[in-house]
Symmetry: C2
Subunit: 263 residues, 2 copies
């Protein structure tokens, strides 16, 4: 079992990814983002995203009800359905699902984020949280009947409300439930770069024992991604490939060991 | 088996509909629209919908690639996922699907619409078409495992491309496949009105033999709706209820025989 995580950047080659997937024999589940699309749509609708910075310095998108609406449009609507259409055109009988559908991904809503407003400390609560479990019987029901699940946010919280979450965390819960050996993480970079501005600084292999050190080496989204990778390892994944989603054959390249292989 | 068609008008009481559905014992499938949401979103994005008028005088929405994008956002994204969320909050384990997902609704793309451009006759081809079949095994797979399918457009054409279609036509294909006895059609009116501007002119019962005459009596969307109703009867539905989707208890009212009952 392979889990294919498709990043939400605007340069990701969806057509190339889906064409490659049509040629592989092993079963797989797709998880995709749409952050570039979400940000553009939010801008176009005159409600640009707001970023919260916690007192500890972590940043996150402020996911109020309106942002969730935009997410539903961008992730569950446009991006998911165009991916499903591409899949069908390549002979993959895909079914798109958010975490709400059949309670596919259940999570717990965040209690609140401590932020400074000017000099005042304030607790802001939005519709975001952490995934905790997936509906494994529904996944198997679909897979056993020839359907490829294509998952995206939002997920469903403990009160059955839609919440935003990190797709990397969805991948982690999914990997554990399906006992997937391989996770392919397609991003807008060649893989893990020693120097993020130098594509030639690609690290081709990272032993699991070096993950913590690598995590400390980077910042921002890549730091969060490396933390997700480390957790994936701790729970049993045997191979994680961080690879370029922009090339002509992103999946073939990833399985050929291009990008960064963590094993 | 009941098919519940929820109209896409902005006054439809989704919460009331879903709360009612949580209380009924018979199995059902939901089909929903989102036309008010689509039109607003298209306006907000600066690409208002264009209406084509065929040489025969029929009107239809010009469904180019951009309009399909907007439809995916409005129907498959925002409206479908908020309905799924409402279902989950009322204990209904719903799964939202477009016609693309698992090739749930297959159709045939229209060859082209003959329109006048000034005085020139032109054939305009867009991404629209007619549904022809549904994926009955996938519907039964979901229903037999406790999931309620919640369907919406787009559907998939003979070349596996996304196309727009009338939800009333999707209902017709679905009714036949599931041999549903009852179809509830929730609209923004009390039912079939003798005089569309007078809510007191509600016709409470229409015998199937009068359908053709009633169809000739009305215009626009209602004419198309009555044609769909007549076709439903011809293929075996035994009860069709056109009822108000705006009240506190739209489903309870419909099953109580409020609205227009055709039997």
């Amino acid at each position: 079992m392979i889990i294919v995580k498709i990043g939400g950047g605007k340069e990701i080659n969806l057509e190339g990814i889906i064409a490659d997937l049509a040629g592989i024999d092993e079963p797989y589940v797709i998880v995709h983002g749409a952050n570039a699309l979400r940000d553009k749509l939010a801008e176009d609708l005159g409600q640009p995203k707001q970023v919260l910075t916690s007192v500890k310095g972590y940043t996150s998108v402020y996911s109020d009800e309106k942002l969730l609406d935009v997410m539903m449009m961008a992730y569950a609507g446009l991006r998911n359905k165009r991916i499903i259409e591409l899949c069908q055109q390549h002979g993959i009988n895909a079914v798109g699902l958010t975490g709400l559908d059949g309670k596919m991904v259940r999570g717990k809503r965040n209690q609140g984020i401590r932020v400074y407003q000017g000099k005042k400390l304030k607790i802001v609560r939005d519709f975001s949280g952490k995934p905790q479990s997936v509906n494994t019987p529904l996944l198997h029901l679909l897979l056993n009947n020839g359907y490829v699940p294509v998952l995206t946010v939002p997920i469903i919280d403990e009160h059955n409300a839609a919440i935003n979450t990190e797709n990397d965390d969805v991948v982690r819960v999914l990997q554990k439930a399906l006992e997937a050996e391989t996770v392919i993480n397609l991003i807008e970079a060649a893989g893990f770069l020693e120097n993020k501005d130098d594509t030639a600084s690609l690290i081709k292999n990272i032993p699991a024992s070096d993950l913590k050190a690598r995590e400390n080496q980077v910042e921002g989204r890549m730091k969060r991604k490396m933390l997700a990778v480390r957790k994936l390892f701790e729970q049993g994944a045997t191979r994680i490939i961080i690879s370029d989603g922009r090339g002509d054959h992103p999946i073939v390249d990833a399985l050929d060991g291009k990008g960064t292989v963590i094993a």
